[in-house]
Assembly symmetry: C2
Homo-oligomer: 342 residues x 2
DNA sequence: CTGAAAGCGCTAACAA
DNA sequence: TTGTTAGCGCTTTCAG
């Protein structure tokens, strides 16, 4: 099965084994051009028998084409991003494109390194989370001459295309719903991540809309590290000790919201009567909680699918491609059981 | 900044811009061989100014070296796998190796396709979940002539190396702890996945050890799809309706265990007095629950680190490398608040 | 329908 | 310390 020495097999080996020229072997293996059934069979048989695996490195260099799409995201442990990936993969599976993932840990420097590394493989496109990048990163994407889709945010100016929701607007909408329900003393909890621009924008939209209603955030707290569920419990406890008259808690993500919810339910607090709660993201997990946490869907699957669709279209149709290059998806509020419906 | 036409920049462009030969430019950019500080500066300046990004495709073809490690896992949404990845990345960051992830969705056919695809990029090593693969997949890994580490399971025979825990033993240990605590009427809940060999092995070890203690699983149920937390609630409810005298529930993963726990707490069931509970994996999430679910850690971070270490060592030291090629990690039971400590 | 020749952009090996 | 030469394994192009 394997060849005598340990040198990987080449097209030439298949050519010799089948008595067909390298060129024709190549054609058979790629289903390109017309090849007679007889030779095709000979080639396929030989390739199978030898256990030939083509060398894409050489193929890519020769054809100047690489069927990879670089996907650059901040983290894999956030639930949110694997879901975007799922959307991307769903669409790419229908093409011959292949996603390759890079993780930035929410730092612009690592993002730059990862981007450089990935671009050096000459991918067919880039899908990257967020609109904030170093100048150098932006320059690289511009110079790469390939489609670039910035995802998950539309509050800013993209290098090329963008697909996502407006986090500012999401924050505003939630604030409006809260005010409308009659809550007045509002606490906020989130991650201590100056580099999580989307969370920041949500918070800005939130405070802005509250202000319009004459309300200010009465208390706020930020955490970093550790189990989000635990942090949600702890912060909720601490905040209510400090500011007992709060009647609403807005969490910057569902996990800490869930922690807060579990904590308050144990304490026997009346929700949403005495205190209302809301999170952000619409994670699956919430469905299994004793009460459904109010939240707002970030359209993660859709974002992934739309972004991949743009890349696929551009790769297939070239510059003549027709598509929306700026797509704003609109999330809807899920009131659940923790936010009065007014 | 960008070049005139839209052709990507080459070494030659940098060479011309700096007045240094291509070869020396290459040396500077790779920090290889001795280059005078003066020329080094000239080259780096030119490369930066032009915005040159090397072409790894060409580099890999010429050097016959690719600094990629193929990592093949069943899923990204299982929490477990991103954690293994974290371990892998932690170790690889200290080398010039780079992980590339492929997802199989728990099917051997897709695993085979993904493996083929990845091997065609001629990676320096493979890390792949599980010991069960198609003959063809096994043959490919054998023929690739690169280090292969099969992870997360040691109950079987690897192609090359393996790192993980024995799921059979994990099942047995949990059964023993349960029997020792005095529980007798035991229910089991898990995923309906004939292809999740590790869950299967755990179950086998579990029933085997129970049998040794003269106990049989009194009821069992399997689910597929949907939110695990919700499924945990639903199955727990259904099972206790059907078999009300159960005094212990063993869940094949922590998420459904958490769902069951939340459900039973709402019902006011005394845990672990009236009913004991245990899950599997030791996920972070559990820390935030009202009671700590008993579980068993699968050593995910360690598995990733050890596997990556093996690859890194083999790549660096070649066949002369010294390392354990079969590593069995031993998980410990966390009794939490849901399993009597005897 | 099949084959021969000429690179793709880079690096190993050697020469200067 | 620097430069020259000859490919890496495949595909493009063009000729049969």
């Amino acid at each position: 099965m394997a060849n005598d020495d340990s040198r990987p097999l080449t097209l030439r080996d298949v050519s010799e084994a089948s008595g067909v020229s390298e060129m024709t072997v190549s054609r058979v293996l790629r289903n390109r051009g017309d090849v007679s059934d007889a030779t095709r069979e000979k080639v396929l048989e030989a390739a199978r028998r030898l256990g030939y695996v083509p060398n894409k490195i050489a193929g890519a260099l020769a054809s100047q084409r690489v069927n990879l799409v670089a996907v650059i995201i901040p983290s894999l442990s956030n639930m949110v991003f694997p879901e975007v990936l799922t959307g991307i993969n769903q669409v790419l599976e229908g093409t011959d494109l292949q996603a390759v993932v890079g993780v930035t840990d929410y730092t612009p420097e690592k993002e730059e390194r990862v981007l450089y590394e990935m671009l050096s493989w000459r991918p067919s496109g880039v899908i990257i989370a967020g609109l904030e990048h170093t100048d150098s990163s932006r320059a690289m994407m511009q110079a790469a001459g390939i489609p670039v889709v910035e995802i998950m945010d539309v509050d800013g100016t993209p290098v090329d295309c963008m697909v996502g929701i407006s986090h500012r607007r999401a924050g505003r909408e939630m604030a409006k719903a809260i005010l409308k329900a009659g809550y007045k003393r509002i606490g906020f909890m989130g991650t201590k991540m100056p580099l999580d621009h989307r969370a920041r924008k949500r918070f800005e939209g939130f405070t802005e809309a509250l202000a319009k209603g004459g309300v200010e955030v009465a208390d706020q707290e930020f955490y970093s590290g550790g189990s989000a569920l635990v942090k949600g419990r702890e912060m909720t406890h601490a905040m209510l000790e400090r500011t007992p008259d709060l009647d609403f808690l807005y969490y910057s993500n569902d996990m800490i919201g869930a922690g807060g919810l579990l904590y308050l339910l144990e304490k026997g607090v009346d929700i949403p009567g005495e205190i209302g709660l809301a999170g952000f993201n619409g994670v699956d997990l919430l469905d299994g909680l004793p009460k459904q946490l109010a939240t707002m869907d970030a359209c993660r699957l859709d974002v992934g699918k739309t972004a991949a669709q743009i890349i696929a279209t551009r790769v297939a149709d070239g510059d003549a491609a027709e598509y929306e290059s700026h797509v704003e998806l609109t999330p809807t509020i899920a009131f659940g059981d923790t936010l009065k419906r007014k």
